[in-house]
Structure formats: structure tokens, C-alpha cells
């Protein structure tokens, strides 16, 4: 979070620079079943972000030491393509992508019925092809759809959403400029049916009251995206072409 204050992000009419209201999210487009070689897959465009997810498995977990007797482990790789950002990213994992992969895997393990697949592994590959703030959330959404597309049973579809703070005001779904010059970011992975949170990070500065409002915005957006996810899965099941 920059919090510079020398860039004004809210217009005089209370709208944001791209014309959105404070509680309005960017446009979201979702396709299920995008990658023929994968067992389940999804393509999500969220604003200018593009994320693709592929699912392989359940398969035998190896090396043996990662096996769990009583459940499947989920192996997530969150990866930004070298050309996905303004400055090219060197291929290979970095500390940021390893941390996101870890907490995303733990979030997905909280919603997938992992007890059904003891000693096995489910591979979830998240590839960010274009990044414009909020990629970890877009990746979570894509991963959920890909898991459902692969027929893996889940308690609920997990939806990735974020709110933040710009010019001291809580807003939903920060874009690139808002992320660079805003004062807080609160990404969440929300289970819309149960109302629970499976993914939670935050940085910047939020009072407890601001946190509550940002959470409220996140839940609202999660329900909207949830509808799109379900529709994409329906379209895919009915043979909608990609």
C-alpha cells in the first residue's frame, strides 16, 4: 500500500477514476473447461486481469512424506506469466508467489471434501496471464471453478474478492492505480453459502469499523461473482463451446 496521498483517486462526484461507485466491482467474465489437456479448468477475466486454472487429480501423493492418511492434500502453484506485468517477471517461484500458493492451498483444502481422497494429491495450477491488481483473488475464483469442472466435491464454491481504502474511503475491488496509491487492501476467499471466510489477508491501515465495511462489500461482491461461476459451470456442462 502506498498511501502517498498525492494522487487523488476519488472524483468530486464521489465516483472513482474509472467511473465506478465505491461499492461497485470491475466487470467479471468466467469460462469453465477452457484447457483440453486438464481434468478441470477455468478462465477468468476480472477487470483487465486474466487468470487460468487447471486441475489434475486426485492422484497418488508423492513423495510419500507429503501424504496424509485421512485426506487429500492440495498442491497449488500460483504463477505469474513473465509477460503478465508491466516489468517482465523472471520465471520461477519467488517469495510472493510461494506465500500466495501456500495460503491459497490451505483455503482450498478448507472447502474441498478432502476426506474423500485419503493419501492422494490434487494439483491446482493457477496461471496469471495479465495482472491489474487483485490477481490472488482472481486466481482463487478460477481455481474453484476448475475444481468444480473437474468434478471434485466441495462444501461451497470459494470466491476471491477484495476491498480496500482510497483517499480514506473504503471501496470495493481496487484496480491498479487504487492498489498503488491506496491505503489498504483486504483480500478474502468467501464461501457464499455458509458465509464463512477461508482466505484472509490484509495490509495497510484499517480501523475496526473500516474493516467491517470492507468485509461487507466483499460479501456482497462474492454473491455476485458466485452467480457468474455457477452460470459458467452450467454453460460448460451443457456443452457450451470455449
Amino acid at each position: 500500500m502506498g498511501g502517498y496521498g498525492d494522487v487523488q483517486l476519488l472524483r468530486e462526484d464521489g465516483k472513482r477514476l474509472d467511473g465506478r461507485a465505491v461499492d461497485e466491482m470491475r466487470e467479471v467474465e468466467i469460462k469453465a473447461g477452457f484447457l483440453p489437456a486438464a481434468e478441470g479448468s477455468a478462465w477468468v477475466k476480472h477487470g483487465l486481469n486474466v487468470a487460468v486454472a487447471a486441475v489434475y487429480g486426485p492422484m497418488e501423493a508423492h513423495p510419500r512424506k507429503i501424504q496424509r492418511q485421512d485426506r487429500a492434500v492440495i498442491d497449488v502453484r500460483y504463477n505469474m506469466a513473465p509477460f503478465s506485468t508491466s516489468d517482465r517477471i523472471r520465471p520461477g517461484f519467488n517469495r510472493r508467489s510461494r506465500e500466495i500458493s501456500k495460503v491459497t492451498a490451505e483455503a482450498l483444502e478448507s472447502v474441498v471434501l478432502v476426506e474423500r481422497y485419503p493419501r492422494s494429491k490434487i494439483r491446482v495450477e493457477i496461471e496469471i496471464l495479465a495482472a491489474e491488481a487483485g490477481t490472488r483473488c482472481v486466481g482463487i475464483t478460477a481455481a474453484s471453478v476448475a475444481l468444480a469442472d473437474a468434478g471434485i466435491p466441495m462444501k461451497d464454491l470459494l470466491v476471491g474478492v477484495a476491498s480496500g481504502k482510497i483517499d480514506g474511503i473504503v471501496v470495493l475491488d481496487l484496480d491498479k492505480a487504487e492498489d498503488n496509491y491506496g491505503q489498504a487492501d483486504l483480500p478474502m476467499g468467501i464461501m457464499p453459502n455458509t458465509g464463512e471466510i477461508a482466505f484472509l489477508q490484509m495490509d495497510g491501515d484499517l480501523s475496526p469499523e473500516e474493516y467491517d465495511l470492507a468485509t461487507e462489500y466483499n460479501f456482497k461482491a462474492a454473491h455476485e461473482i458466485h452467480e457468474l461461476m455457477k452460470q459458467a459451470l452450467l454453460d460448460s456442462a451443457s456443452g457450451g463451446d470455449v
Binding site: R95, R98, K102, E109, E196, I197, L200, L206
Partner: protein, 260 residues
């Protein structure tokens, strides 16, 4: 087989929770004893040791002179590293940094960085050319639970007592690294179905998800992180956030008391 034992432990912890008890007899929001020492390591420009029950960690601060980032020509920088080395527990293996150690370092780093307590402009030596880089390293020597809070406490204490070694680098006189506030982390883990503060090793093994909250002087949130498998409700978060407010204030006072 190794996974069966945790299962028995989970049952035991659930039973204890149903009686509002904990594995080591503490109350739900109680901490183990926390002993903080500062300025204890030759060669570190800031250092602190935290003993939290049987958990022992060190934090050390070093400085060097670096080129600033081109988009922030007048700002110094902070780099935080954490090592979960094999010294700290039988379970840790040598090798490249594990996801666990990366998470630890990044969560501690964000709590400090995002509170804005470091005046990065004050770390500029020559704009566009030379700035101070603060290098904070966390070193866990004995892991018996809740290394996050132990490390975060050692980190802020080491930072708040650090001296910038300008003379050694021939760029003026040594000066104290000034921090404008004291962000403090408190971590809560779901054990036996409910959240407890400062989980010990057994509670970690038999517990579920973990929430790390870093609060600033005014009680604002500066960093949140959920780790491990499990979900929480907004109401549960509200409960632990209230607890964190009190405990952070206590720890902040302890940190201040160790500043010379």
C-alpha cells in the same frame, strides 16, 4: 501412522475445549511467560531475544548502503528474512526456504512496513544514489509453538533499539533508527473448535487455522493473515480482534520498557 496421533490429540483438545480448559492449564486468552531482552548480540546493530515458554527466537538488524528503487529515489528500504533452520526442531529440514519460513518472514515484514512506522525518507543518504537498507533477520532457535508472535515481538524490539552505523560506512554520524510507532502482532489458533491465544506446540499439532493480527498504536489493523486449513466466521473474527487490542497494548508496553 504418524497422522493417527494428531487424531487422538485432536479429541483430547476438543474435550478440554468443551470444559473451557487448555492443554497446559492456561485460560483461553492467556499467554505463556514472555521474556524480552534487547541489544544482546555483538555485530548486530539492533538485536532482541524472546523466550516465550519453551520457544526461543532472536531478531537481528543490520544495515547497508544501497541504490534506491528508481520509482522511490529518496526512500530507504526494509528487507525481512526468516529462517526455520533445523536447529529449531526435529521437524525442520535443511534446504531452500520453506513456504512456512517465507510466510513467517513476510507476515512479520508486512506488520511493520504497513504500519508506516519507518520513515523511509529519513533513510535517504543521497537522493537517487544512496539510501540505507534495513535488513531484519529472524532466527528461530527453539520452536515449541507460536513462533510468529515471538518473532514479531523480537523484530519490533530489535528495530526500535537499532542504531544506523553511518560512521562505519563513512556517511556521517551514527544515529538511532527512529520508529514512529510500535506495531504488535497477536496470533490466534482454532483449537478444539474455538480460538485460543498463543498456541503451544501440542495445540498447533492438534489445531486448525491460525489468524495473525498486527495492530498499531491506535488499534488500527495493519496486517492480517489466515494460515492453515480451516474457516472462520466474521463474528469469530470480531471476537479475537477485541482480544488482540488488549494484548497488543500490553506487549507494546513491554517493548517500550526495553528501550534504553
Amino acid at each position: 501412522m504418524a497422522q493417527m496421533v494428531p487424531q487422538l490429540l485432536r479429541q483430547q483438545l476438543a474435550e478440554l475445549a468443551s470444559q473451557d480448559k487448555r492443554f497446559d492449564g492456561r485460560g483461553r486468552w492467556d499467554s505463556r511467560d514472555l521474556i524480552l531482552e534487547t541489544d544482546i548480540l555483538y555485530n548486530a546493530e539492533g538485536s532482541a531475544k524472546v523466550v516465550l515458554g519453551d520457544t526461543i527466537v532472536y531478531a537481528g538488524v543490520k544495515f547497508d548502503v544501497a541504490s534506491p528503487y528508481s520509482d522511490r529515489p529518496t526512500q530507504g528500504s526494509l528487507m525481512t528474512g526468516a529462517e526455520l533452520r533445523p536447529v529449531a526442531h526435529r521437524k525442520y529440514e535443511p534446504g531452500p526456504p520453506s513456504p512456512e519460513s517465507i510466510e513467517l518472514g513476510r507476515v512479520v515484514d508486512r506488520g511493520i512496513r504497513e504500519s508506516g512506522c519507518i520513515d523511509m525518507e529519513a533513510l535517504c543518504i543521497v537522493p537517487g544514489e544512496k539510501v540505507w537498507r534495513v535488513m531484519l533477520d529472524l532466527h528461530v532457535l527453539s520452536d515449541r509453538g507460536n513462533i510468529f508472535d515471538a518473532c514479531a515481538t523480537a523484530a519490533i524490539a530489535a528495530m526500535r533499539t537499532a542504531v544506523v552505523p553511518a560512521e562505519r560506512f563513512d556517511v556521517g554520524e551514527d544515529f538511532k533508527l527512529e520508529l514512529s510507532s510500535t506495531p504488535i502482532m497477536c496470533s490466534y489458533q482454532r483449537v478444539g473448535g474455538r480460538y485460543v491465544y498463543d498456541a503451544c506446540e501440542q495445540e498447533e499439532i492438534g489445531g486448525d487455522e491460525r489468524i495473525h493480527i498486527t495492530l498499531g498504536d491506535e488499534g488500527h489493523l495493519h496486517s492480517l493473515q489466515k494460515g492453515l486449513r480451516g474457516v472462520l466466521s466474521p463474528a469469530e473474527f470480531t471476537e479475537i480482534l477485541a482480544q488482540a487490542g488488549d494484548r497488543c497494548a500490553e506487549l507494546r508496553e513491554l517493548v517500550h520498557s526495553k528501550e534504553a
